[in-house]
């Protein structure tokens, strides 16, 4: 029986990460509640439930901020790959914290009143037409709905069922959710609390997330534009010299249509495959060859360099590209992909090109 999808499995690493995240969350909540309950003079103590609602909301925003920094950080420095590998669990945990914030809010602020609590959530502040009075609850609810859909479809089963492109679009909505959360905070907490610290923290979070994405985007763009002019007219491109590719690693090059190709070296052999991993479009060219197979840096899916097929029992396939050694000793890659499953022409620098 073939295995239709290779879910990222539970393993010891993941348990350790999850415990670590839980410890971090517990520390945040514990410090928040302790300080929040004691910072004001006696007789002015805050209400524990209101504090808890606030602590959970802050924690969810902090967690989502961290989730969104992991992608670009891992592109910049492979030391962040472990965080990327575990990002999904952090995402689901973020949803659970947001759910606690949402549930407690509905319970404490909106229940046991003359309206259905969920109706109250949307109508008790009716100033939808106002710029500064706009109900921040609506932003939070929309963000929560997105997080819910993402958490519900986070398992690789859904990735497979919905198809990678639909899933990817769905999960890009996380940026919309983040924007909505910033509005939720700006229209709620920032209009209630007086300290400038909160404004500064939200701006800092936004700047870090946006800044990291811009920096990685610009880096990628400038690398790609450095590759312009390498396109040979006959449908092949000049990528590099064989020595430029470290053993077991790859160089990537942009293709005219916007895709990328990853050119791997395994000892004396040089192969080319499309750069996007079937799983979540991870950058295969930033991965390596492990035990003779191309291994994605994000979650470790594997493909044989010869034909782009995952080793049994898996059945995932990426396309190969033909490579040849030019008369000047350069590595040339054919722009057109091979059909899925077809072995690509490769170079053997120990001998001649195949």
């Amino acid at each position: 029986m073939g295995v239709k999808y290779q879910g990222v499995q539970w393993n010891g690493n993941k348990v350790v990460y999850d415990l670590y995240m839980l410890v971090a969350l517990a520390l945040f909540m514990g410090v928040f509640m302790t300080i929040g309950m004691t910072v004001h003079p006696s007789g002015h103590q805050a209400d524990a439930v209101v504090l808890l609602i606030r602590a959970l909301g802050c924690a969810a925003f902090l967690m989502l901020t961290v989730v969104l920094t992991i992608g670009p950080l891992a592109r910049m420095n492979p030391r962040f790959l472990p965080f990327l590998y575990n990002r999904r669990h952090l995402g689901v945990m973020t949803f659970l914290v947001a759910a606690a914030h949402f549930g407690l809010t509905v319970l404490w602020y909106h229940s046991s009143g003359p309206l259905n609590p969920f109706v109250s959530l949307l109508v008790s502040n009716p100033l939808y037409a106002s710029v500064e009075g706009f109900p921040f609850e609506a932003f939070g609810l929309a963000a929560f709905a997105i997080l819910f859909v993402m958490a519900a479809t986070s398992h690789d089963f859904w990735l497979k069922t919905l198809s990678a492109s639909v899933w990817k679009v769905l999960h890009m909505l996380v940026y919309v959710a983040y924007g909505l959360l910033v509005l939720h905070i700006a229209y709620g907490a920032l209009m209630t609390e007086k300290s400038a610290v909160y404004v500064a923290l939200v701006i800092a979070a936004l700047a870090i997330v946006a800044g990291l994405h811009v920096v990685t985007g610009v880096r990628e763009w400038s690398r790609d534009s450095g590759m312009k002019g390498l396109h040979a007219p006959d449908g092949w491109i000049d990528v590099c010299a064989p020595e430029d590719i470290p053993d077991k690693r790859a160089v990537t090059a942009p293709l005219p249509k916007g895709d990328r190709v990853a050119v791997f070296r395994d000892g004396a052999k040089i192969y080319a495959v499309e750069n996007a991993c079937r799983h979540q479009n991870g950058p295969l060219g930033e991965g390596c060859i492990k035990d003779g197979v191309i291994t994605c840096p994000w979650h470790g899916w594997q493909y044989r360099p010869q034909d782009g097929v995952s080793p049994p029992p898996y059945e995932e396939r990426i396309a190969t590209h033909d490579v040849r050694l030019s008369s000047l000793g350069r590595v040339f890659v054919r722009v057109k992909k091979n059909p899925l499953g077809k072995e690509g022409a490769f170079i053997d620098v120990g001998g001649a090109a195949s």
């Binding site: 410090v31 300080i35 910072v39 805050a46 902090l62 709620g188 300290s195 690693r249």
Partner: protein
């Protein structure tokens, strides 16, 4: 010009982290040093955010003890009990009565207007202003008593103090007096509006330039309970022209909902 320009060099570290394999030494070193730093940063952020929360103000809600009072019941304009107290200003204390939850209008007190009662519930109190939180069914908290109530306490005359322009905020008395701390601001607006919709009496929280505050019970211009048209204005900074009337020890601010302006 080098033809290699723009080629992405792969990282030279021989080990690459692969989730399902044992983490390479370089990653483990990185994670071991990053772990305490991240925990420290998380703790620091929790401290920073909690430290700067604004003072929720005075107010308490004592659900651990049953508070018992005896006095004259009135349902106009909102449920309240007037307790004779020679040591208090005007010889009395008015204790507002609200139901548990946010549906005070469910308390049916019309038939008990003016009669002396003994009532027990949870005490809510802010700066000397008192409120009693009671269950819905009257026999759980209310019983008639035979006490001698001075007429000025049972049915105090109205003293008209004149017309004033006040600036402040409309609060739901229950949360503001101590059930939710803080029970104000935009994050509490919806809750406050829901409480007032459910019959919790609205209070006008006016503050003058010197930071002195006064809390007045809000009624319509005729002294009756305010309707739902006040709800959109709850919790926001507003001002209104109205009449201040003293009834016993309680100040009322009488203005119709359309007299309020957002500021």
């Amino acid at each position: 010009m080098s033809l290699n320009k723009g080629v992405i060099p792969a990282e030279r570290d021989d080990d690459l982290f692969i989730g399902w394999a044992k983490a390479p030494a370089i990653d483990r070193r990185f994670l071991f040093s990053a772990a305490p730093l991240l925990l420290g940063a998380t703790t620091g952020l929790g401290w920073l955010v909690a430290k700067n929360l604004s003072d929720p103000g005075a107010g308490k809600w004592d659900t651990t003890a049953t508070h018992v009072i005896e006095g004259a019941l009135s349902a106009k304009p909102y449920p309240m009990i007037r307790v004779a107290d020679p040591s208090a200003p005007f010889g009395m204390r008015t204790v507002l009565v609200v139901a548990q939850g946010k549906c005070t209008s469910g308390l049916d007190l019309a038939a008990k207007e003016g009669i002396p009662v003994k009532a027990s519930g949870a005490l809510i109190e802010r700066n000397g202003r008192q409120m009693l939180e009671v269950p819905f069914s009257l026999d759980k908290w209310l019983e008639p008593v035979f006490i001698d109530m001075p007429g000025v306490v049972a049915d105090p005359p109205e003293e008209r103090l004149g017309r004033f322009a006040l600036a402040g905020r409309i609060m739901d008395s229950k949360c503001f007096f101590g059930v939710m701390r803080p029970g104000r601001g935009k994050t509490h607006k919806a809750c406050a509006a829901l409480c007032i919709r459910g019959g919790v009496p609205p209070s006008f929280w006016a503050r003058d330039g010197k930071g002195r505050e006064s809390v007045l019970l809000m009624t319509d211009a005729a002294g009756g309970p305010l309707g739902e048209d006040i709800l959109p204005l709850v919790a926001d900074p507003v001002s209104a022209d109205g009449e201040i009337v003293r009834v016993g020890d309680l100040l009322q601010f009488r203005a119709d909902a359309d007299a309020y302006r957002r500021v």
